[in-house]
Every structure is written in C-alpha cells, then in structure tokens.
C-alpha cells in the first residue's frame, strides 16, 4: 500500500439539473463519506475543485453536511482543477498535519459554448478567437497533415466512447451512435464534428483521502485504493497550442504538457504505460484522445490513429481508454471531471464496473488537460 489512499468515492450524475450547485455537490460529498464509512465530523480538511462557481463555494456546499471549523478551500486550474485539488490533499496528508480529508469537484455550467471572458482577452473575443473547439481543431488539422490521421479515425474515438457510455449511469448522454451518424454530424470547427465534442454541464464527484496508517486504524485497508502518484503541471513555453493562446513559437521544441506530466507521474509511481490496465483521459474532442495516446506513451508520436484502428483502446484491448464513456458522453463539469475519472478508476479497480469492467484491472491512470496547458495525471493501484 502507498502512503496515501482513497477510502471512498461518491458521485452526483453529470447532466443538466434544476438544482443548485450546493445541492449537487452535497450529494457527491455525502455519498463519498458513506462509501468510506466515515462521518463528516471526522474529516480534517476539505478541497473543492471548481472553475465556474463563486467564491467560497466549498464552504457553501459542505455546510449542508453540518457546521465545521476545518480548512475548506476552493482550487482552480482550469480543466485540471480536480488533479490540482487532489494533489493538495495528498500533500497535506503526506505532511502529517492531517490524515483524513475530502476532495470534492463540483460545477454548474450554462449550456453552449463557455463564457469566453473567463479565459480570453477582449480583442480575441472581438476577432472570433474565443471558441475552444477552434484550437482543438487546428491541432487536429495539423496532426492529419503531418501524420495522415483521418477524419474516420477521429470518428472511431467518438464511436467507442459513446458506445461505452450506455453502461455508465452517471453519464449525461447514454446513447450509442453509428460511425455514419458521427461522420454525418455537422462540423463545429472543421475537422471536429458535433458528435465528437463534449458539452459543459453540471455534476459532482468526491473522494475521501487518508493516510495508509489511518486507513488501517479504521479497518479499511482491504478496500483502500492507493494513490501511486498525482501530478499537475502547466505547459512549458510554447509546448501546447491550446486556448487561449494567440501565438506559438515556430522554433521552440518543448515536450507537451501530457508528456511532461505523465512522465512525472510515471516516475513517482515507479510505473510506466506497460503497467496501466485502463485510462480515463481528456476527450473534450475525439481528436484530443488520439493525441493523448501519444503523449501518455501508449504509442509513438503520430501513431495514435493506428491505435484506434486496431482496437487497442477499446474494451478487451491492451489499453482500454475512457470506459466511462469519456467527457464526450459525460459532459465536462470542469471542476468535477478529473475526480469523476478517479471515481471511475476506483470502481474499476474494485471490480465493480459491471458491463464496462476491464477484467482484472489493478492499475488505472486519469488524465486531464485544458486552458493554459494545465495538465494533471493521477495513477491509482490496488
């Protein structure tokens, strides 16, 4: 067992709800406490991962579980907020000051394209540079040009993830689409199509994190899942053309944020891609998943398309990716997305994932990547 473990997890489904964010968040928090078999009064610190909620949302959500005087802080690192928050919890437990903490991710977002003023400058908005999918699409277009990746390969990623979502009760969309339906859905930003893209929505996910010693004292060691590593980094200079970038170097050659963060997480865990049984990754668009295969080391640069063609990332393949249905199906309530990946991996490692179960899964990796090149990777083991 590693020094820091997950004792329990909880979810509020992802989707669109006529409920306040406080209500949504409290559902996941209470479920995680129940699953861990601990009381709210035992928790010594809490971290809320969120991007689009107001100040002190963590305290506002968690007061619904009862009054407390513990430290509750909100953490934001764009799409990687959940990884940044989980990392703070791990560091706090490792410091020895606390040994039983909660990490909650929660978001409630308006429909449609995200509010551009959150990440773009006024001039970018005026010139029409304020759509996140435009950036993803330019990456895809260049990858297709450099490596021969095809629109059909991109569609196959969306096909796989939609297909798996049917088995995930927490997913917003739970509908299988044929390759024809995906390829015939309209472009949002060429070459990315409507059925290949994720939507912002509402949702929450929570985990209870403890020291290995505390887990033993609670008699919870048997079901504890190890946090082998949890890394968060920001893209190096010009290493990632992603919103809200207005330019990039044509000469710098820094490794991308997925490569850098994964490398750090692999090293700290003493594991590599050959050891990982399943992945949950940032498929905000279907092309992005192909690029992430390469960044995580599932294949060489430029070979991501081949991986999806060969079925290696499907259920039953050597490296199943996004068996939860991914963000394409679940939607992306930004603050909650990584913690929901962690919940999915814990469920898989416990062998409780039902029809989407990866047989014999012992090691799982969660990856998120977003604005400003924020990237987080968490590796869990049992």
């Amino acid at each position: 067992m590693s020094d820091v473990v997950i004792l329990g997890t909880g979810m509020h489904p992802f989707g669109r709800f006529e409920k306040s964010y406080e209500e949504i968040g409290a559902v996941a928090a209470a479920a995680a406490l129940r699953d861990a078999g601990v009381e709210w009064k035992q928790i010594q610190a809490a971290y809320l991962s969120r991007m689009y909620l107001p100040a002190t949302s963590g305290a506002r959500i968690l007061r619904r579980l009862g009054a407390t005087d513990i430290s509750i802080i909100d953490i934001e690192a764009a799409c990687a907020s959940g990884g940044a928050a989980l990392r703070q919890a791990v560091l706090a437990v490792r410091s020895g000051e606390v040994d039983l903490v909660m990490v909650l991710g929660c978001e409630k977002m308006p429909r449609g394209f995200m509010d551009p003023s959150m990440i773009y400058s006024q001039w970018q908005i005026e010139l029409g540079m304020s759509m996140n999918p435009a950036y993803w699409s330019m990456r895809a277009q260049r990858h297709m040009h450099d490596y021969g990746t095809t629109e059909l390969q991109i569609a196959k990623v969306a096909y796989k993830n939609h297909k798996m979502s049917v088995h995930n009760p927490y997913s917003m969309y739970r509908k299988e689409f044929s390759l024809d339906e995906i390829m015939n859905s309209p472009f949002v930003c060429d070459p990315i199509r409507r059925l290949e893209i994720c939507a912002p929505d509402d949702g929450a996910a929570a985990v209870i994190v403890a020291s290995e010693k505390r887990a033993r004292e609670l008699g919870a060691s048997a079901k504890a899942i190890n946090i082998a590593s949890c890394s968060h980094t920001i893209a190096r200079y010009s290493a990632d053309f992603r919103c809200p970038a207005d330019s990039m170097s044509a000469t710098a050659n820094n490794p991308g944020p997925t490569e850098v963060t994964a490398q750090q997480a692999y090293e700290r865990a003493g594991l590599g891609p050959q050891d990982i049984d399943l992945y949950e990754v940032q498929d905000t668009d279907a092309f992005c998943e192909i690029e992430i295969y390469e960044g995580l080391g599932l294949c060489a640069l430029g070979e991501g398309g081949r991986l999806i063609d060969e079925g290696k990332t499907d259920l039953g393949g050597a490296s199943p990716v996004n068996m939860s249905g991914g963000l394409i199906s679940k939607g992306e309530p930004v603050g909650a997305s990584h913690l929901a990946q962690v919940v999915e991996i814990v469920t898989q490692l416990r062998g409780e994932a039902g029809p989407r179960q990866v047989a014999g899964a012992k090691v799982g990796l969660g990856h998120v990547l977003g604005a400003g090149g924020n990237c987080a990777v968490t590796i869990l083991t049992r």
Binding site: P116, L127, S130, S238, S249
Partner: protein
C-alpha cells in the same frame, strides 16, 4: 500637439502593444513582436520581458507581413461573447500563420473557406473598424497573397 497625433489618439489598436507603425498609414502597420537577444525567441506583441526566458533583453520588432498557413479551422457557429464579425454570422477561417520571424500568429483568414489549406501563402491586412463610441479601431486579418508574391 500635431494634428496627426490628435487623430492618432482617436485611432486605437485592437489591443495595446499588438500593432507596430503609424495607425494612420494602414499600409505601414505591422504586427508588433519582441525579439529576445538572450534566447533568440521572438514573441507576439510589445513585451518588457521575454515570453520564453523572462529576461528583459527584448527589443521591439515589426513582424513580417507575409506568412504561410500552418494550420486552420472553419468556425461554423457564431463565437460566444462580443464577436464583431459580420452580422448575420458567416462561417469563417481561423488559422495559425507562420511568419519568417519564427513564430505562428493566430488570425482570422479572409478568403473563401474552400481555399483554406496548409501551406497557403498569406498577406497581413490591417483594417479600420468603427466602434459605436466613435473610435476607429485598427484590427487585422490575413488574406491569400497575390499570385507570385508569396515567398516564405
């Protein structure tokens, strides 16, 4: 104060520090850059420190007005927020234009969207937009370079 300076005060760049040259002479306007004499990187806009190495060894440069399309997309939906493009909305090209100065700049690409392709030779084109408050705002786009004119 010279008459030109007063007029120039009313004509503003779409973002301070993004354009070089007199805004009154559109054919002299270029994208502003900062070249670092320590690390050699050239970055977009007028900066006091290098975007790469953080040193203050940067000098202002005017970037080339010619480039090639490095990647692109077609924006099929009206962008959210205060978009100032044509109303009603028309799908448009958006791309990364690689300049010989060693950087790629994101810009709208004004052309028939069927013409968009990686490697397309492009020409910088500043233009004046009248805002509701009476200010003349200098914005920019790239257009396909005239045949025989692309040389980067």
């Amino acid at each position: 104060m010279a008459a030109g300076a007063i007029a120039a005060g009313k004509r503003v760049p779409i973002r301070e520090g993004l354009l070089a040259g007199s805004l009154l002479e559109l054919d002299q306007v270029r994208i502003a850059g900062s070249k670092c004499t320590s690390c050699g990187e050239t970055s977009l806009g007028t900066m006091s420190v290098c975007a790469n190495c953080g040193r203050d060894t940067v000098r202002a440069v005017a970037l080339s007005d010619r480039g090639v399309l490095w990647s692109y997309t077609v924006v099929r939906h009206k962008p959210p927020g205060d978009y100032r493009g044509p109303d009603p909305f028309v799908p448009f090209g958006l791309g990364l234009v690689e300049l010989p100065d060693g950087l790629r700049v994101m810009s709208p690409i004004e052309c028939n969207i069927d013409e968009l392709k990686i490697g397309l030779a492009l020409q910088f084109r500043p233009y004046v937009r009248m805002d509701a408050d009476g200010r003349e705002v200098v914005a920019f786009t790239f257009v396909p370079a005239a045949k025989g004119a692309g040389h980067v």
